[in-house]
Amino acid sequence: MNIPANLKYTSSHEWVRTEADGTVSIGITDHAQAALGDLVYLELPAVGRKLAAAEACAVVESVKAASDVYAPVAGEVVAVNTAAADAPEQVNKDPYATWFFRMKPAEPAGIHKLLDARAYEATIGDA
């Protein structure tokens, strides 16, 4: 299972990457896309929406199931990846390059409290 060491993770299978401008990009992990199977639908939050940490804010649907995507930290949505919504299969092909949305975190330090790659790997080992 591919779990890049330079990203942060949540126990609900989102990955989080801090960008140069201080925003964070969010997608779903390789483990999540493999468990869901072929993805056919993405619903992304509106730009400008203010999210609480762990708030359900996006939906991903595969052929077999629907699943919520959660905000890893509190903050405001500043961009969404409409290309991913138009071609959800890209999430299966390259889950770490296919971000869903970007947030401006209310509290940048909060990112450090997320799981690192090793801790995330341990959570899916228990699953």
């Binding site: 199977g37 056919v40 639908y41 619903e43 052929v63 077999k64 299969e89």
Partner: protein, 368 residues
């Protein structure tokens, strides 16, 4: 402990994602369910369906017994090898299971029933036999495995994989079967399936299932999991027991009226109840028109005749949009627009008459 088919280790070695299906540890896909689906629609795929139960019924009077036990009429089976799809009904007219019955000899019929219902089916048939035909012998064939090979190139690939099989099976019409001896022992080849494509379902003794699977793979038949099996059967407009019908509904409210002959003088289990209760609901097809998600079982459908409910829903790789079977009020008709509640929204869907796709082609108008 989950039950395993003889092909379990073969699936795992091929990288299959395994899931629990009615107590069986089965492959849901080997990577991409959509790719497996397309392989069956355009070329050839194979499914391990060894979890389904073969049940042989032998003895004088077998036809008389089945004429009463099954909702469809076994008198339609005139030539040896001919198969029939039927429901097994309770006396109240609800559905115990759906099955295929093969007429092999006047005193020998073969039933293939669903995995999750096999034990209750056998118990029910034994109870009926005790009352009406105590000399018949019912034999659950747990010694057998079954592989479904489906797709436009399926038959040709089977013929290459099983030497001598072309002579035996080339002339088989759909819903007909023949047996033959092979290097893997006796093999039963039926031109049946659950995908809307041509192909065979092959019954073989369990110890030889892996050898047959490998011979088929060597001919380019792609392994396909239960995920693709479900999207293929739904596109083909075929019901799944436990989802589209069960012991709470009648076949007449499940799109299966064509399998129940109420007009004939023949009596059968459930007939009186069906005749006394005309259907108030029907099973119809839906194609999602709006964007906003995927149709799924249990979503509510608003129609101008009242509410209905989706029984099976998925994304159709052939139509490239979401489709469903839904139990709808009797007045709803193909062409109607209905609203399906998907999360917090109501999405428009068009009512269509299944099937949605068969033989590689979409059968309902693609939109969007």
């Amino acid at each position: 402990m989950q039950k395993q088919t003889p092909l379990n280790a073969t699936h795992r070695a091929a990288g299959a994602r395994m899931v629990d299906f009615g107590g069986w540890d089965m492959p849901v896909n080997y990577g991409s369910q959509i790719d497996e689906h397309r392989a069956v629609r355009t070329d050839a795929g194979m499914f391990d369906v060894s979890h389904m139960r073969v049940v042989d019924l032998e003895g004088a009077g077998a036809r008389d017994f089945l004429r009463y036990a099954l909702a469809n009429n076994v008198d339609k089976l005139k030539d040896a090898g001919k198969a029939l799809y039927s429901c097994l009904l309770k006396p109240d007219g609800t559905v115990i299971d759906d099955l295929i019955v093969y007429f092999l000899r006047e005193d020998f019929y073969r039933l293939v029933v669903n995995a999750g219902t096999a034990e209750k089916d056998i118990a029910w048939l034994r109870q009926l036999m005790a009352e009406r035909a105590p000399k018949l012998v019912l034999t659950p064939r747990t010694d057998l495995a079954m592989i479904a090979v489906q797709g436009p190139h399926a038959r040709a690939k089977v013929w290459r994989a099983i030497p001598g099989s072309e002579q035996v099976s080339a002339a088989l019409k759909p819903f007909t079967a023949a047996g033959m001896s092979t290097r893997w022992g006796d093999v039963f080849i039926a031109r049946t399936g659950y995908t809307g494509e041509d192909g065979f379902e092959i019954v073989i003794s369990a110890p030889h299932a892996v050898a047959l699977w490998q011979a088929l793979a060597a001919e380019g038949v792609r392994p396909a999991g239960l995920g693709a099996r479900d999207t293929l059967r739904l596109e083909a407009g075929m019901n799944l027991y436990g989802q589209d019908m069960d012991e709470t509904v009648s076949p007449l409210e499940s799109g299966l009226g064509w399998t129940v002959d109420l007009a004939s003088p023949r009596d059968f289990v459930g007939k009186a109840a069906l005749a006394a209760h005309p259907p108030a609901r029907q099973l119809g097809g839906l194609v999602l028109v709006d964007k906003g998600g995927v149709l799924r079982a249990h979503q509510v459908v608003h129609t101008r005749h009242g509410d209905g409910e989706i029984t099976s829903g998925t994304f159709s790789p052939t139509l490239n949009q979401s489709i469903a079977l839904a139990r709808l009020p009797a007045g709803v008709a193909p062409g109607d627009t209905v609203k399906v509640v998907v999360r917090d929204r109501e999405l428009a869907a068009e009512v269509v008459k299944p099937p949605f796709a068969r033989n590689g082609k979409a059968l309902v108008g693609a939109r969007s």
